[in-house]
């Protein structure tokens, strides 16, 4: 069976792994794939609502950057996504597949919301906010540490474990929301709507600005940690080879747990920012799938915060703008999710051209050769 393909001659297309690719090449591939994704979304819109190719992009613009408020809302959406993506990056770098960011952020939200509901009205606001932040960090890191402990000591599959933890967090948050329902509702609603206790203050009279500044500082901190600290270097060694790490005396178990604790803490901060800075409520879907989106952003950004921020921003533009364009053109806003799916699939496909090289061979030899298998072997051994 295996010989059949050899007898057929050399294949027309040969795929081989690239040793490395120039910075320029990456930029060209990435830029063209982003352009391609945006074009496809426009084409899809044209199919749904004929003749809407240009008005689609107009709609995208009017939903995102048309004035300062919508720009801020788009930037906030991108920033919180970036923070979550950065939070899971250290774990990814040591090949710990933490897809539980959704749950870790949600537990952070829960910690912040609990104190916001029960403590914030009774203490000064700065005290309440600091305590909320602390509890959010604790909750987030506990949620991340549980799978890490099992991974470290029993080698339990972390992908599936963290995935399940997401749903447990979702139901706990929903239960908290329903158990403390507002009058005349089945859910908790906006917490402290009259006194704004435990809400992050507005900077320059606008929402989100303070949150965005905090996130930029945190992201820079993580980048610095991974790039220049000894602990960050240990993660890089683990990424290369676990055996090497053991040989040079790195305690693999402890690094795994420590990295996850850190990631969980950052997720907790993201949860705190969502509850205290933006949503002011809690429920099963307050994180809104950002934990899963962040996994894709982190991976597609090659764990580089600069690239990740680009993708986070593009994702926010395509979902917020796509939704508003759909509203303008009179079709269902669910299409925004389809756009984001297309966006990720196209960018993902472009990774192929970065990692692999295609060799075309149109002058391939047919099977009239006397002894083709040996020839392929010679070529293979080169």
């Amino acid at each position: 069976m295996a010989n059949k393909s050899i007898l057929r001659g050399e294949p027309v297309i040969r795929i081989s792994r690239r040793a490395d690719i120039s910075w320029k090449g990456i930029t060209i591939v990435k830029a063209s794939s982003i352009l391609c994704a945006f074009l496809l979304c426009g084409l899809l819109s044209t199919i749904i609502a004929p003749g809407s190719f240009f008005s689609f992009y107009g709609g995208v613009f009017s939903g995102t950057f048309v004035n300062f408020d919508t720009t801020l809302a788009t930037l906030w959406d991108a920033a919180i996504l970036l923070l979550i993506a950065v939070a899971i990056t250290p774990a990814f770098k040591m090949k710990f597949w933490n897809i539980g960011a959704e749950g870790q952020v949600l537990m952070g939200c829960l910690g912040a919301a609990m104190l916001m509901k029960f403590l914030a009205p009774h203490v000064p606001n700065p005290v309440a906010i600091i305590l909320m932040l602390v509890l959010a960090i604790i909750f987030g890191s506990i949620w991340a540490a549980i799978p890490a402990l099992f991974k470290a000591f029993f080698n339990t599959n972390e992908t599936l474990f963290t995935l399940m933890m997401n749903y447990i967090a979702t139901f706990i948050a929903a239960a908290f929301s329903k158990a403390n329902k507002a009058v005349g509702s089945t859910e908790i609603g906006t917490i402290n709507i009259s006194g704004h206790e435990g809400w992050l203050p507005n900077l320059f009279g606008k929402d989100y600005i303070l949150c965005i500044i905090i996130i930029i500082i945190l992201v820079f901190g993580v980048w610095f940690f991974l790039k220049f600290s000894k602990k960050g270097y240990e993660i890089a060694v683990l990424n290369g080879s676990v055996r090497t790490a053991e040989y040079v005396g790195i305690n693999v178990k402890w690094v795994t747990i420590r990295t996850m604790l850190m990631g969980g803490a950052l997720c907790g901060i993201a949860g705190f920012l969502i509850v205290s800075g933006s949503a002011h409520t809690i429920g099963g879907n307050v994180v809104n799938g950002r934990g899963f989106t962040a996994v894709m952003i982190s991976w597609l950004g090659h764990f580089n915060p600069l690239q990740m921020s680009l993708y986070a921003l593009l994702y926010s533009i395509i979902t917020i703008g796509g939704g508003s364009a759909a509203g303008d053109l009179g079709y269902s806003a669910d299409v925004a999710t389809v756009f984001s799916g297309i966006f990720f699939l196209i960018i993902l496909a472009s990774e192929f051209f970065i990692n692999f090289r295609l060799k075309f061979n149109f002058h391939r030899k047919k099977k009239e050769d006397d002894n083709p298998p040996s020839e392929t072997m010679v070529e293979g051994s080169k």
């Binding site: 029993f154 339990t156 099963g284 989106t293 993902l348």
Partner: protein
Amino acid sequence: MFLKIIIDSIRFSAIYLFGSAGETITEKSGHLNLGTPGIVCIGSMGSMIGAYFYISISGGNTIPFLSVLFPLLFCVLFAGLAGALFSFFAVTLNCNQNVTGLALTTFGAGLLPFVASSLDGEVTASFATKIVKPISHLFPKTFYESNWFTQLFFSYGIFVYLGIALAIAIAIFMKKAKTGLFLRTVGENPAAADAAGINVNRYRYLATIVGSAISGIAGLFYTFDFSGSMDTSSLSGYGWLALSLVIFTMWNTELGIAGSFMFAFLYISSKYANSTPAGEQLVSIIPYGATILVLVLSSIFSRKLGKAPAGLGVSYFREDR
């Protein structure tokens, strides 16, 4: 009332059974397809398109047999295409499987409500009588309503029986057939399988396409049998549960019959129990908690309980050896 809970649970379990049986085939080939929730949604979307198409071409004079066949064909077609898309990314383009799966879930979960809302309302209104009825009950009403025994065993639609038969067939195929052995080899150690002359890529493609097509039927079942409505907001959540059921049953589809019943029973009984809304949410945790428990126990006692396919989630590229 207890009988009603059991009957509803058995019906509902078909969603998990189809979803997990399909995903088991996929995972046995070494593909961790996190796109299953999206594929379930795409299956539901396909069945809606099939039903819509059939009602349109038949002009309203529907035959029950074709009313089942058309949604099924379209469902399998679309879900299979989604599986092919996953394989194209994971095998041909060598992309990361987790990321591909999540992107596919995003895509499918968005596509379903979008397509559902853009279908013509007049035609979808006739789904209830023309499509849901033949799918949701295999036997005539006068027959199964006579006593509790027939109610318990014969009050379901064709897909409940099909799901159980399929789960058993897959289990036999995996353990007894030569192709099943090859498939397991590909999932455990693709390099060894390749060396033995098994075409790894072909097996992975086919297993993922077939598995996705089966998973997609879960979407059809939910839309036209269990809920009988166009409301599909909770469908992707069931898809994730189907994914966890695969682990819960330790990649054995015959155990999936009991496992899916257990998951469904927990879900249905929490609806009937006179608990608070918060309590209902907490009951929903049990299936996920139980899955984690199985996951942990199986990692501690991996020798006795069996394990995930060793090559699960790892792309295979020949030149990397």
